[in-house]
C-alpha cells in the first residue's frame, strides 16, 4: 500500500510543507469556481493520543454548504478528525494536536479561541442518539436557552422551526412535554439533529448518525440530510459506503490516519486514484 501511495506522490500535486506524503487535494476545483468557499481548512493537521498519531498531517479544504462524507475502516481516524473540528476531543485528556485547523479564517486550536462559541457555530450529532432525559421541548430549547433566549414565545418558535427542519414536527407536535427518551431510536436521532439546528450552527458534524438505527430510520435521516443540503456545511462520518455515495458531494477516505484521497464523491467511487481507496470501496480489503 505504501508503494502505491509513493507512486501516486510522484504524480505530483502541489507539495505541502513537510507532509509525510502527498495528499490528493482537492476536491472539486470546479465547484470552487462555481462559488464554493473553503469553510474549514486543515494544514498539516495532526491529532495525537499521547504519543500515538491518530490523524497524520492532513491537508484539506472543506467546502461551505456542501455535504462531505468521511469514510474509512475502523480506527482510521475519521471520527477523531470530525470531533477535532468542534474540539470535542478536548474531553480526552491525552489528546493534543499539531498543525492548524482554520474555521472561517480563525484557528480552531488557537490560544484565544473560545471553544464554547466555536461549538455554538459547529453543531454535532453523535453515533448513538443522546437526547437529555428531559421533555422534547426542553431538549430543543436547551441550546437557545444556553445562549440567552428565555422568551417563551420565541423559544416555542425556535422549537417548531427546528423540529420542522428535522422533519419531526408532525410526529411529535402533540407531545412536546413528554420525555424525549420515550421516542423511538430514529426519532431520537432526528431530535438530536433538531437540537443541533436550534442553535443555528454554520456547520453540522454527523458522527455515524445512522449506525445505531434500522434501515427505515436510516432512510429518514438520509432524507433529512438531503433536506438540509445547501443550507449548512455538513460533514458525515459513515461506515456505509452506499450512504456516502447517496448523500455526499465530496468524500474523504482515511486510512491509518492518513487522508488518502479526497475527491468529489462521483469521482472517488467511480474512478479512485489510489489503489487503497479502490480496494476499500470495492470491498477487497483485508
Amino acid at each position: 500500500m505504501q508503494m502505491t501511495a509513493e507512486s501516486k506522490d510522484s504524480a505530483g500535486v502541489a507539495s505541502q510543507g513537510g507532509a509525510k506524503r502527498e495528499i490528493f487535494l482537492p476536491p472539486d476545483r470546479e465547484r470552487l469556481k462555481e462559488g464554493g468557499t473553503p469553510h474549514v481548512v486543515a494544514k498539516n493537521f495532526s491529532i495525537f493520543y499521547g504519543d500515538f498519531e491518530a490523524v497524520k498531517k492532513v491537508n484539506a479544504d472543506i467546502l461551505s454548504k456542501y455535504v462531505t462524507a468521511i469514510i474509512g475502516p475502523s480506527g482510521c481516524g475519521k471520527s477523531t478528525f470530525l470531533r477535532a473540528i468542534n474540539r470535542m476531543n478536548d474531553l480526552i485528556p491525552s489528546c493534543h494536536t499539531t498543525g492548524t485547523l482554520m474555521f472561517e479564517g480563525e484557528d480552531i486550536y488557537g490560544k484565544y479561541t473560545d471553544e464554547v462559541l466555536l461549538r455554538k457555530r459547529i453543531g454535532m450529532v453523535f453515533q448513538k442518539p443522546n437526547p437529555f432525559p428531559k421533555s422534547i421541548f426542553d431538549n430543543i430549547a436547551y441550546g437557545p436557552r444556553l445562549h440567552g433566549v428565555n422568551d417563551k414565545k420565541i423559544l416555542a418558535e425556535i422549537v417548531e422551526k427546528s423540529l420542522r427542519k428535522a422533519v419531526l414536527w408532525d410526529e411529535v407536535s402533540d407531545r412536546l412535554d413528554r420525555n424525549a427518551l420515550g421516542l423511538s431510536g430514529g426519532q431520537q436521532q432526528r431530535l438530536c439533529v433538531a437540537r443541533a439546528l436550534a442553535v443555528e450552527p454554520d456547520i453540522l458534524l454527523l458522527d455515524e448518525p445512522t449506525s445505531a438505527l434500522d434501515p427505515k430510520a436510516t432512510a429518514k435521516i438520509e432524507d433529512l440530510i438531503e433536506e438540509l443540503r445547501g443550507s449548512y456545511t455538513i460533514l458525515i462520518v459513515t461506515h456505509n459506503m452506499q450512504q456516502a455515495s447517496r448523500v455526499s458531494d465530496h468524500t474523504m477516505f482515511f486510512y491509518e490516519g492518513d487522508l488518502v484521497e479526497y475527491a468529489p464523491t462521483k469521482h472517488l467511487f467511480t474512478n479512485p486514484r489510489d489503489q487503497v481507496t479502490e480496494d476499500y470501496i470495492t470491498g477487497r480489503f483485508s
Binding site: M88, V116, R119, K120, G123, F132, P133, G143, A196
Partner: protein, 448 residues
C-alpha cells in the same frame, strides 16, 4: 464438566443461597420482634390512675373532672390501708421494746413498698424528687410492687457448691396477730380499685419531654436533639461533599495530589467513629472553640466530618454513572462546563446523590460515639432552634446507651429504653424508605 454435575452444582448453590437468605431473615426477626414489642409497650400499656395524675398535673393533658372522680374513688379504696397503718402504729406504742424494735424495721419496709406503689403516704412530708411524688404508673410495675409487699425475698445458702437460691416467704407471717395482718389480704383483693388500671395509648411518649430523668414522661427532647444533630450534620456535609465530588470527577487532573486526596477520603471512611468524637472535642471545642463546651453545633460538625467520605463517594459514583453522551451533547451545543454540570450532569446524577445523602443522614442520626464528647447530655431540657450554637442536647442514640448502662433506675424503665430504640430504628427506616421512594420518583422522571 458434564451436564449432570453442572445441574447438581447449580441446584446446590441455589439451595445454599436460599438457606442463607432465610437465616438472615430469621436473624432479623429475632432482633426486631422484641424491639417492636418492647417499644410498643412504651406507647400502649395498662396505665394506672397515677399515670393520669402525672399527665394532668405536669402536662395538662387528660380529662380533669373524670380524674377528680377517679382520685376520690381510689382514695376511698386506699383509706383502709392507711387505717391499718395507723392502727398498727398505735399498737406498736404499747408493745414491749424488744418486739417493737424488731417489728419497726420490718414495718419500715412495708411502708416503703406502699409509698412506692401508691405515692406518698398521708402525714409524711412532701418528697422533693418527682419520682417519689407519685405511685406506680404502669400496671406491671404495680404487680411487681404488690409481690414485694406480699412476700419477703430470702436467699438459700444451704448448698455451698451452688449459687444461692431465691425463695419467697409471705410477709403476713411477720405480722401475724397484729393489726397489720389485715392489710395484706386487703391490698391483694382491692389493688385494682386502688390503682384503676386502664388500657392507655400514650402518644405523649413521643411528644412529651421527660420528667425526672425519664422516670416519667416521654422522649421528645431526644427525638428533637437527634433531628437537630443529623440535619445539622447534613447542612455541612451535603453541599461540601457534592462540591468535592464534582471537583474529583470533572475538574481534578489525574496526578499524585488528587490520588492522595482520593485515598485520604477512603481512609477517612474507615476511621472508627469514637476517633471522630475525640477529634471533635479536641478540634471544634478545644481548639477552634465553636462553643464554650458541648453544643449541637460542635456535634453536627463532628458528625459532618464522619459522613463526608460516604457522601463524596456516593456522589462521585452517581456523577460517573451519568452517560458521557449527555455531557457531549451539552458541550456540543456550546454549553460551558459549569452549565453542563448544573443543567445536565447533576440532575441526572441526583437520585444517586440523594440516596447517598439520606443514608448518611440515617447514619448521623444513629451514631453515638461522635456525640459523646461533643454534643450529648443524658438529662437535658428540650432546646430551641436558637440554642443550637451553645447548648448540648439529649439524643436518642446516646440516651439509649445511658439508660442501658448508667441510669440509676434502669431496671424500672426498660420500656423507655425500648421505646427509644424503636423510635430510632423507625426514624432511620423512614429516612431510608424516603430515599428509596425519592430515588424511584426521580429515576422514573428521568426515564420518561
Amino acid at each position: 464438566m458434564d451436564l449432570g454435575t453442572r445441574k447438581i452444582l447449580d441446584r446446590s448453590f441455589t439451595a445454599v443461597g436460599i438457606t442463607s437468605i432465610v437465616l438472615m431473615a430469621l436473624a432479623l426477626l429475632i432482633v426486631v420482634v422484641p424491639i417492636v414489642r418492647g417499644g410498643l409497650g412504651a406507647l400502649y400499656f395498662t396505665g394506672t390512675v397515677e399515670h393520669r395524675k402525672i399527665q394532668y398535673e405536669e402536662f395538662g393533658e387528660g380529662d380533669g373532672r373524670r380524674l377528680t372522680r377517679e382520685i376520690e374513688e381510689t382514695e376511698k379504696a386506699r383509706a383502709p390501708v392507711y387505717r391499718f397503718l395507723g392502727e398498727f402504729e398505735a399498737e406498736m406504742e404499747s408493745m414491749d421494746p424488744v418486739k417493737k424494735r424488731e417489728l419497726a424495721s420490718k414495718y419500715g419496709k412495708v411502708k416503703r413498698v406502699l409509698a412506692h406503689m401508691l405515692g406518698p403516704l398521708p402525714g409524711e412530708p412532701e418528697p422533693i424528687l418527682l419520682r417519689f411524688q407519685y405511685g406506680r404508673t404502669r400496671w406491671e410495675q404495680v404487680e411487681e410492687s404488690l409481690h414485694d409487699l406480699l412476700f419477703v425475698t430470702k436467699w438459700d445458702y444451704s448448698n455451698p457448691e451452688e449459687m444461692a437460691k431465691e425463695y419467697f416467704v409471705p410477709r403476713i407471717d411477720e405480722f401475724r396477730g397484729t393489726a397489720l395482718a389485715g392489710l395484706f389480704p386487703y391490698v391483694e383483693n382491692n389493688i385494682e380499685s386502688m390503682m384503676l388500671p386502664r388500657p392507655t395509648f400514650y402518644w405523649g411518649f413521643i411528644t412529651n419531654k421527660s420528667l425526672d430523668a425519664h422516670i416519667f414522661g416521654g422522649i421528645w427532647a431526644e427525638i428533637q436533639g437527634t433531628f437537630f444533630l443529623a440535619v445539622g450534620a447534613m447542612l455541612f456535609a451535603f453541599p461540601l461533599g457534592v462540591i468535592a465530588a464534582i471537583y474529583f470527577t470533572e475538574y481534578a487532573k489525574d496526578n499524585f495530589f488528587t490520588s492522595m486526596l482520593r485515598s485520604a477520603n477512603s481512609t477517612l471512611a474507615g476511621v472508627p467513629s469514637i476517633v471522630f468524637g475525640l477529634f471533635g472535642l479536641a478540634f471544634f471545642i478545644n481548639t477552634v472553640k465553636v462553643s464554650e463546651s458541648k453544643s449541637v453545633l460542635a456535634g453536627s460538625l463532628t458528625l459532618a466530618i464522619m459522613v463526608l467520605p460516604t457522601i463524596i463517594r456516593a456522589a462521585e459514583e452517581a456523577i460517573l454513572a451519568v452517560p458521557i453522551t449527555y455531557k457531549e451533547a451539552s458541550l456540543g451545543l456550546g454549553s460551558t462546563k459549569w452549565r453542563t454540570i448544573m443543567t445536565v450532569i447533576l440532575p441526572a446524577a441526583l437520585p444517586g446523590i440523594i440516596t447517598g445523602g439520606i443514608i448518611s443522614l440515617g447514619r448521623a442520626a444513629g451514631e453515638t460515639a461522635p456525640i459523646i464528647f461533643t454534643a450529648a447530655v443524658s438529662v437535658g431540657a428540650t432546646i430551641g432552634l436558637a440554642d443550637v450554637f451553645s447548648s448540648p442536647t439529649p439524643a436518642l442514640s446516646w440516651n439509649i446507651y445511658n439508660l442501658a448502662s448508667e441510669h440509676e433506675a434502669a431496671n424500672e424503665i426498660r420500656h423507655v429504653q425500648y421505646g427509644m430504640v424503636l423510635s430510632l430504628i423507625s426514624i432511620v427506616l423512614l429516612l431510608n424508605l424516603s430515599a428509596i421512594l425519592l430515588r424511584a420518583r426521580i429515576s422514573k422522571k428521568l426515564k420518561g
